[in-house]
Amino acid sequence: MSDKFVVEIISPDQKILKSEATEVTIPSFEGQMGILKDHIPLITFLRPGIISIKNSDEKKYFVEEGTVEFSKNNLLILSSSARDLSSMSKKFINEMLGQAESKLQESNLSDKEKYLVSYKINTLKEIN
């Protein structure tokens, strides 16, 4: 028996990825979550962070938000902001970081928004 399951990342305009994986780590709203084969059916949503997909190699994707469904060994990630980490340039990351930081300065943010933006900043700093 293989210990692999199917993972799909879909954005509104295209299928970004469909492959097999042994382990996927997702930045769920309430914390990092590792998913292995035969996980129980699950629906959750994401905060800004990094999805890492482990197969024989490891692929990483940056996401800002998204919805995740796991059922019958199918992991489905719907996100309008998923980006392949290796395709993001330093300059682009810095730009995003700047935008996020200036957004954090705005006073009218709700707690939830602050939470999300601060996660975005942390993640961006981490990969920079």
Binding site: I10, S11, P12, D13, Q14, K15, S28, F29, E30, M33, I40, P41, L42, I43, T44, F45, E65, T67, E69, S71, L76, L78, S80
Partner: protein, 292 residues
């Protein structure tokens, strides 16, 4: 009887019209392929999202406390109609079909004594609706300068709808767009997006097990439903873009053919009158020679 020169001019002008319509058809055909592709690529996202929402709503036990985007305000007084059309004309009945459907719905809503608000996306729709229902239009969008529809545009419209909903500006929201079936057939559609209609969601597969939710169902729904609005708008925009090109292609194909027919007819006319004038001249010469 038009003179030979007039006929010649006429043929020339029809021919150049034909060239234009032919070129437009080619352009539409090329754009159609692209639009169709992106419409097809966009389908899984919206379909899967609907599926997740369907799974979520199944497990909601307490409809009273469910998010308002899903169950509505409980009232049925104010309607928001979002009419999605193209920014360019010359595409057959594409824009008028949507507007016709929208207008018949407007009429029904107003006849029932309910409040009507309209948002138009695309300038052609606004032009058609303005005459009769101009005072109901609260906002108009146009993405004329955009070459390809991206999710951002859908988000702009989606966020507008949601913020209006949060301000209690309407109870129900309906979007009008053309569904792309194939190149010749586009079906104008009215789809209710708030409250979300869950009954006609096609189930991809029957799920008989329960999901684990993290965090609670309500919280997920609150995050997901606004996204779903944008997704639905995006889907409608993509379908519309493909339909527009398909419709334009067929319209221009017809126009090219009609122009061809017209050219044939005019050419026969032209040749006949040329022949007639030659015959006439010959008769004149011969009868002149005979009389000598």
């Amino acid at each position: 009887m038009p003179s030979l020169d007039d006929l010649k001019k006429r043929i020339k002008s029809v021919k150049s019209t034909q060239k234009i319509t032919k070129a437009m058809k080619m352009v539409a055909a090329a754009k159609l392929r692209k639009a169709q592709e992106s419409a097809e690529k966009g389908r899984p996202y919206s379909q899967k999202m609907q599926n997740i929402i369907f799974n979520l709503t199944k497990s909601i036990n307490d409809p009273q406390n469910a998010p308002r985007l899903l169950v509505g305000t409980g009232q049925d007084k104010k309607y928001l109609c979002v009419v999605l059309t193209a920014d360019r004309g010359l595409c057959g009945g594409f824009n008028s079909n949507i507007c016709k459907l929208a207008k018949s719905n407007f009429k029904k809503i107003l006849n029932e004594g309910k409040l009507l608000k309209i948002i138009t996306v695309g300038s052609k729709g606004y032009d058609q609706i303005r005459r009769e229902y101009g005072k109901y239009v609260i906002k108009k969008f146009s993405f004329k300068e955009k070459k390809n529809i991206s999710f951002e545009e859908a988000n702009i419209v989606g966020n507008e709808i949601i913020s209006l909903f949060n301000q209690n500006e309407f109870d129900k929201c309906i979007i009008f767009y053309n569904n792309f079936k194939n190149v010749i057939t586009q079906i104008p559609q009215a789809q209710q997006i708030i409250p979300a209609e869950t009954k006609d969601i096609k189930k991809i597969d029957e799920v008989d097990f329960l999901y684990e939710f993290e965090p609670e169902e309500d919280e997920i729904l609150e995050d997901l439903l606004p996204k779903n609005i944008s997704t639905q708008v995006f889907k409608a925009l993509l379908e519309n873009a493909a339909s527009e090109q398909g419709s334009r292609m067929t319209a221009m194909d017809n126009a090219t053919r009609n122009a061809g027919d017209l050219v044939d007819k005019l050419t026969i006319n032209y040749n006949r009158s040329r022949q007639a004038s030659i015959t006439k001249e010959l008769i004149e010469i011969i009868s002149g020679a005979e009389s000598l």
